[in-house]
Amino acid sequence: MTGFRSILFDESGIGTGIDGQEAPEFFTDLNLDQVVASITAGREEYNLKPFFHTPLSRVETINYRHDILRDLENQALFGHIGSFAQKMRAMRGHLAQADKLHYKYQKQRWFLEAADIYCDAVSCLTHDLTLADLRSRGFLAFREYLTTYTKSGDFGTLLAEVRKLKADLSGVRYCLHIKGNHIKVSLYGSEPDYSAEVLQAFEKFKQGSVREYRFDFSADPEMNHIEAAVLDRVALRFPDIFSSLDQYCQRHRDFLDATIGDFDREVQFYVACLEHIERFKSAGLLFCYPAVTDRSKEVHGHEVFDLALANTLLRKSAPLVTNDFYLKDPERIFVVSGANQGGKTTFARTIGQLHYLASIGCPVPGREARLFLFDRLFTHFEREEDLQNLSGKLEDDLLRIHGILERATPNSILIMNESFSSTTLGDALFLGTQVMQRIILRDMLCVSVTFLDELASLSENTVSMVSTVVPEDPALRTFKIVRRPADGLAYAMAIAEKYRLTYESVKERIAS
């Protein structure tokens, strides 16, 4: 047997206890909860969220996943995986139904059908993978595993027996003679089809179209006790077939291979990602496999966007603005200022989302990106609660940032949004500067959205990014965040115009 263990983890990266993984703390701040909900929607049965809640620690594992995704971009392979998944789902449905049913021969038949679907799913997938042009280590190893498995005697028996039994059962034909309260079950003796004869006799009266009479009988898989009793008599009429069925169910109780079962679940991680981004691609938005590194902090991104926001706008068919960013050594910190409602928080979230999505080996929203593999990701966003207690809020802010700085390492990323906005300008400036200096000292990557222009030029490690407005109409936002010295004036002018308090406006108003 080869070394295949998981389609999600290379040998170095196998995680344990993933299934219980809750969403990280920062998920809500970055709207990643919405993103993951959107990606995994409709796949609840696979319980995929834990995989999305578990960032990877090694670049190799991320590349392992990227390679698999690249394989899956082949439409044919993607289709094969889709039909495999569909069959596996049908198989589980049959097993569940077998479990629910009461009558022995019915349970057994549903079990047999489940095994049949499983054999078909595995055989087809093996065949399809054999013909596929696979490049990724993950798929190559899985193919080898499948080939060995399907050649094994166990699978061979499972398959051969199910075929024979199904053929036998579909040949079962019997007659019911109903008279009074008796139903006699006999072997079918080629008695002529009386319906056909009657239909033919009355065919002559047909002219034009009249109402069709159809009688709906329950399509419920359950049987009533009369049907079950009839089935028992049918089994008596065909004793060999039904005892084979009985034995089959005993012998192959656990026919499902664990590795294949895991594959079926885990591969859905990729399928979900690819299907999700397909919706955006058809709207003209780009995704890319980012270059992920744990060595250099010179990150950049082109035409990146907030995936959660994109999802909302897509539903409204509204256009979306993308942004660019880069850091050159020794730059570490984006200080984002400028007009409110101008896309500052979105920009900060975007950088957080990109790094997180990269850390789980997903494609990221943007034309091209180079991202840093963090050890920890922190967010410091304004908390809505305790608005009436400003000192309590400031204290909470400080406690949280303290806790973050305690745990952060040079390999951590911090996304800050309007920290210390709840105090006086003097306090805010002082606290902001202090905290920023600590962050600089820690040499970590950071995005800080703030109204404090001064923070933008604190050191050579900070980069000033500004939200922009349309020059002719300052009240209109472009949602573009550009690398530029902070300048509060554009925003002030927009506000002034809105209240007709510009120079001309005021003069005019006074003059009148």
């Binding site: 019997y174 007659c175 109903i178 006699k184 003796g189 319906s195 004869e197 009266f205 009688f215």
Partner: protein, 498 residues
Amino acid sequence: MYMDRDFDQGGEISPNEAALTQDLELDTLFGAMAVGDKFLLEVAKRAVLTSLDEPEAILYRQHILADCLERSAIVREMYAIAVEAIEREKKVWGWGQYPEGMLHRSVEVIKQIMDLLRRLRKIADEHGAEFRSEGFTTLFRMFAGELDDDYLNGVEDHLRRLQFRDGILMSAELDDGNKGTRYVLRKPWNPKQSWMERIQTWGEQLFLRDRSDFVVQIADRDESGFRALTELRGRGIGLVAGALGQSTDHLLSFFRMLRSELGFYVGCLNLRDRLAGKGEPICFPEPFAAGKVILSGRGLYDLCLSLSVEERVVGNDVTADDKLLVMITGANRGGKSTFLRGIGLAQLMMQCGMFVPAESFRANVCDGIFTHYKREEDSSMKSGKLDEELSRMSSIVDNMTPNSIVLLNESFASTNEREGSEIARQIVRALLETGIKVIYVTHLFDLAQGFYLAKMDAALFLRAERLADGRRTFRLVEGEPLPTSYGEDLYRRIFGAA
């Protein structure tokens, strides 16, 4: 009724049905056809108001009607059979929601109807040869060919068997969940089994198993068991029950169709009898294809007037071939309106395949027959009346196609003559230029004179005849419009003053 389809009682009829009925007094005609029978009344309305637009289709009906006129007793008997079939079905009680209920009811209804089918067959056998029209020949050939004794006996055999006195036999297979499926009703082999089969059964009984091992018996109190048994039987007979249900519907719709179609001809027979009783002439008109402009006849009379008086009424001759405009002027009560109605009725009756009230008549078929008559009601409001007239005209124009005919009776007289004439002139000229035939009875001298002076080839001017002594003959003669009407004459006659 039609060469290529059944007479559809739910079909579309002319949008101007109400106006036609009122202006041509069609209720009198319908009444004479129905003689008090509600169903015949509906059929008459439907048929008369659904015009045919091909001369061939009209001739097809005329030939059938000719057969009917000659063999009226047989046609009436067939009609009675159709009526009885419908009546019998109503008397069979039953409920068709479940297969067994439907099967039972259908078997009962079909049994009742078989006897009527046999009677129709007998008529076909005995009298089929006496009928000459394509329509009847086809019908009788169908009876003779489709309903032969072997077939009818076979059907009755099935009806007996479908009562399942010996229980229901059906075959089944197992579906993917081992539930029974593909239930097929089976016909047991002849009870006299071959010796081989008998030995098999015997062997089975003796050596293999106790027969009762293969029998499921439902306990007396097992209600859900009996429900399940009913459902199981239903699965076996569902197909047959559905088919029988459909057959019943087909048979009934056949008889309904027969009743509707013969109903029309029976209505025609009633009308013929009534007219023959008072010696009024009828004739089969000669239809011409749309596109030609034909309108000629001798002794054309107002059928509805005749039906409402004791004596015979005066007929008129008309020769208006190649005339798109026929403008009728002249004395009040001089027969203008009855002449106009006579033309309308003849045109309408011709286009549904009937005979017409005339000694001879020929005309081209029209796509639409429209009437625009002066309405007597709400005479109080002059302007409102013109509005009403124009709005009616406008909806007529909405529905018109070239090749229509419109009968105007004192239209646009609700305003002064100058205005009325101008309105009418513009409308009429437009109609004529699009190829619509206009028959216009009018007092509007300005209008009539204008058209007369234009000396159009396609215009004919008729005048109510007045003899030298001032008496009216109720005949129309060709002649130019005259500035005065003959109201004075009428006044004098009625008031008897000089």
